[in-house]
């Protein structure tokens, strides 16, 4: 955990989403793993939690994908190359290492970054990505042809019409090794709950979202009930095994 400076090198936008590439020399920041995030300065009082999309430790590059939905994310979306930001991180645990087992990577909307990051480091053929959104504008063209991925949209404007659940069923049908795969997910809570519901048999890790005050464990703003007691999403998570989460045990959150 560090308080560090990031320099914006490059920015690309796709409808309401921007991909920001920052430079840093901070070693700890570049040792980040999929599922981890940084708290980024965003002209708001509190910094904003944003997952890492990609990292290149040789060139010192850190990439983030920002979906503008409010004040802070709009500020980040509007940044121009050359800008300097203060950040705190890297925060959070990471998705576990599948150690070669097949894994389904389900990302919805701005929950795609950890999935993309994973797709860059997991061994080929062991994973398949499902990328869901409401429509075409939500699906950022991140994945090249060589990365096995399926796109689903609610309105059918791109890929399969339907949700990520449908996408996963399709993948399972096409390649039975995924019927007993690990499931990693990140996205809106309804999506994650639908996945838990549809695939109760899968060992399912998900990255949770909570309104965060600090992002490094001191404010207790971001808690979630688990079978192991109340946990802080920012440092005990954001990745949890869904079987440990309160919502599977009758809790509100």
């Amino acid at each position: 955990m560090k308080q560090l400076k990031l320099f914006l090198k490059d920015k690309k936008t796709w409808f309401d989403t921007a991909i920001l590439e920052f430079l840093t020399e901070e070693k700890k920041a570049l040792a980040v793993k999929p599922g981890m995030f940084f708290m980024l300065e965003a002209e708001t009082l509190l910094k904003k939690p944003i997952s890492v999309l990609d990292v290149d430790s040789r060139s010192g590059s850190l990439k983030f994908l920002i979906r503008r939905i409010g004040k802070g994310t709009s500020f980040l979306y509007d940044l121009k190359p050359g800008a300097e930001l203060t950040a705190i991180g890297p925060s959070g645990n990471a998705f576990p290492d599948p150690e070669g087992r097949p894994v389904l990577l389900a990302g919805g909307g701005s929950g795609i970054p950890p999935m993309f990051f994973l797709s860059r480091i997991l061994p080929k053929k062991t994973f398949h990505v499902v990328y869901g959104g409401q429509g075409k504008a939500d699906i950022v063209p991140l994945f090249g042809k060589s990365i096995p991925h399926r796109i689903t949209t609610d309105d059918g404007s791109l890929g399969l019409k339907g949700t990520v659940v449908k996408g996963i069923r399709k993948i399972m049908k096409d390649d039975p090794q995924f019927c007993k795969a690990l499931l990693f997910s990140c996205g809106p809570e309804p999506m994650v709950k639908a996945l838990t519901h549809a695939f109760p048999e899968l060992n399912h890790y998900t990255s949770l979202e909570r309104y965060m005050g600090c992002g490094f464990g001191v404010c207790l703003g971001c808690v979630v009930k688990t079978v192991n007691g109340i946990k802080r999403v920012c440092v005990d998570g954001p990745v949890f095994n869904t079987k440990d989460l309160g919502w599977n045990h009758g809790h509100e959150d």
């Binding site: 955990m1 560090k2 309104y211 001191v218 404010c219 971001c222």
Partner: protein
Amino acid sequence: MDMKTDLGRGLLLKNPVMLASGTAAFGMEFEDFYPLEKLGALVTKGVSIDPIEGNPTPRIVETSGGMINSIGLQNPGARVFVEELLPQIRKHDFACVVNVFGYSDEGYKKVVEFLERSEGIDGYEVNISCPNVKHGGIQYGTNPEMTHRLVRELRSRTNRHLMVKLSPNVTDIMEFATACEEAGADSISLVNTLLGMAVDIETRRPKIARVVGGYSGPSIKPVALRMVYQVAKCVSIPVIGIGGIQSVKDALEFLLVGATAIQVGTANFYDPGIGGRLADELIQWLNRHGIDSLDDWIGSLEV
């Protein structure tokens, strides 16, 4: 530059910078940002005799120039504090003030009695002002007689430094300060959070689950500064200033109106290095302005 500041009854701080309760957990997370030894003191998250789960989420929301929280005093209880957390804190050389809380006189007495058995605690900050607890809590901080009674009870139970933390949600803050002083408090810290609320017009719902929460951050500074000024004028025990401090300028303002020390709260969240930095910057600023010691600055406002 002499930066030592004496809060009384053995609580001598190496400098006036403290981290405020509930904004620094039990301190450990800040080791990554600066050597904790830089701090004058750490005030722990509120500790109660039994563990408290706290309130449902969302517990936090940002508003213009501040934030509202409704954590609900989540804490692991006094036993876990003493056995697991205190030993960690005691690895570092700074004063450790334990913020204590109970739902009744009984609850407060119990937690203090329990903590009295442990070494390594330099003082208590009695939170009589937390707005986030449904049953009890708040009425202490808004009733001077109850405040007086509670402080007297706790005074008779400890020889450690007894700091009382006041709520700003009252008509006359001086009445409470006087009650605390008369009942034997060693110092007074203020302010806790203002009661505030935020709603979402799109969902038509409150932005935090418990509807009303505690408002903190830069926006509350003018109110906090006014109350610290009023209290410092009316009591003779030390006053610790809290509320919206995010720069050395802010810290100097509280000291100028009469605070003997200051606590940094919300700013820890968005600027975790602030505690260590303030300690340095205070010295630099006073030096640059030809002021020989912290004592010369404290309370030197000309009205």
